[in-house]
């Protein structure tokens, strides 16, 4: 593709820009499609766990239900509350979506199937996740609604608390691989299941999954949108397409974090027989399934418990993991 563009006599930089735009578009489309699938999956899984069938009317097994919902959402009226800070209100969903898309830049779907394998991939991930907090605060503040404001403050507090263990596990992964490049992390786990980081990093893996679920606002950590207390949290005032963008971003975050868990701990796109990208999706969806399972099984956690879990359990565990990783790397030589 790149060569073909160059072949048409285009200058290199222009070709780069076009390629970048194309890759971003592919990611956005992929995210949209994934979100559709995930919504269905979520409702089906929730149904199974709650011993009911879930959506089953539209299409075979209710397959088209989500599409109908999506069309409904997009075609709704676009309301901006009169007291809102309009510019910020409109920007917030864009920022959060942009951050979610930006995370995908460094994730390797397979050998050479990565937008840009940055040499500081791990730090990049940590940095970009931080932008989400900003977007939540923007959304909550600009809505001019106290529920939104409290919801956004909660989510910001939650994200800040859980980012620390998350970044600490990333550091441990970087130590294991001896590189901050995600490609190297995957390469370090090649050669069979025994090389996956999940075994030496089992504490890290657990911390990562729990913190990741909190970062993605998954149940049982979905306090920012706790319906019973805060109406719908930071996005109370949002509706229609903008709401759909938030929704999309949330699922995008879920997939990103599952894909990261796959990349960091489960060997990424490596596996026998099937092509790498298939393996990648199998593992990612397995992680997603586990998170849904957990989410629909456990009740929503209380805010002080949430904070305690983050500060008193996950951070010490992440630190222990870090110390252990140091010893392990020293011992391994």
């Amino acid at each position: 593709m790149y060569e073909w563009l160059l072949g048409t006599g285009m200058s290199q930089s222009l070709a780069n820009i076009i390629m970048g735009v194309l890759k971003s578009l592919i990611i956005i489309v992929f995210l949209a499609v994934s979100a559709l699938i995930l919504v269905l999956m979520e409702r089906k899984v929730a149904g199974r766990i709650q011993n009911r069938p879930g959506p089953n009317r539209l299409g075979p097994g209710g397959m088209f239900q989500t599409f109908a919902d999506a069309i409904k959402l997009v075609s709704k009226e676009d309301v901006v509350p009169s007291g809102a800070d309009k510019a910020v209100y409109i920007l917030a969903p864009l920022v959060i979506f942009a951050a979610s898309v930006a995370l995908w830049v460094v994730i390797p779907f397979g050998p050479n199937l990565v937008v840009q394998d940055l040499n500081i991939g791990l730090i990049y991930l940590a940095a970009v996740t931080g932008i989400n907090v900003l977007a939540f605060l923007m959304a909550g503040w600009s809505s001019n609604n106290k529920w939104s404001l409290i919801g956004s403050m909660r989510s910001a507090a939650q994200l800040v608390s859980y980012e620390i263990p998350l970044v600490l596990t990333l550091v441990a992964v970087g130590m294991m691989a001896g590189s901050l490049r995600l490609g190297d992390v995957v390469a370090a786990q090649q050669g069979g299941i025994q090389n996956w980081f999940v075994f030496p990093q089992i504490i890290g893996f657990i911390v990562f999954v729990v913190a990741g679920m909190a970062e993605a606002n998954r149940k049982p950590f979905d306090l920012p949108e706790g319906e019973s207390e805060l109406v719908a949290g930071y996005n109370t005032e949002y509706s229609g397409f903008r709401w759909a963008v938030f929704f999309l971003a949330e699922y995008a975050n879920l997939i990103v974090f599952s894909a990261l868990a796959t990349t960091f701990f489960l060997g990424g796109p490596s596996g026998p027989l099937l092509p790498p990208i298939v393996w990648f999706f199998i593992k990612t969806y397995a992680v997603i399934f586990v998170t849904m399972w957990i989410g629909w099984t456990l009740p929503r956690i209380r805010i002080d418990h949430l904070m305690n879990l983050g500060w008193y359990v996950l951070i010490p565990l992440a630190l222990i993991n870090l110390g252990w990783t140091g010893l392990y790397v020293l011992w391994r030589g």
Binding site: A127, G130, L137, W141, E163
Partner: protein
Amino acid sequence: MDFDPTRVAFIVVSAIAVVSAFRVVTAAKIMHAALWLGLTFLMLAGVFLLMGAEFLAAAQVLIYVGAITTIILFGIMLSEAAEVRGRGAAPLPVRRDDASLFRRIVLPALAVLAFVGVMVVVYSQVSWPDAPAGLGGDTVRMIGRALFTDFIIPFELAAVLLLIALIGAIVIAVRDNGRREQG
């Protein structure tokens, strides 16, 4: 001059940075000022990236955009100052008496203009290297190595500083709560 994407990118990013920095100072709502500040930080990360400091760019996003802007937003929301409570209120006005106006607007402006002027003069007189010396190799490794060899003592001190700041911030912010409960 032929089309140089790096240079164009730099100019575009710098321009956005300067404009948003200007808005930080002039924005009517303090929330907006903080968000403009975040944008400035983000653009500066881009500047760092263009100058071969990708680690610093990531650190810039992580620390300034992710952490500092967020804390400032938190600070604004929690400080409940008059300016924040009345959401749309303009910045605290400069008092109308002449002394204040002079000290707050005229003198700072003069100082800034003098500073920038001097800097421009200096920059125009010095001959700079045309091309970058380049960084050579993996900057992340390079920084890591430098941190743990030549800069080990500053590095340890920075760690201690952060710890002290953490404790200090907690102590300062919490102390008054206790007093209010007693009182």
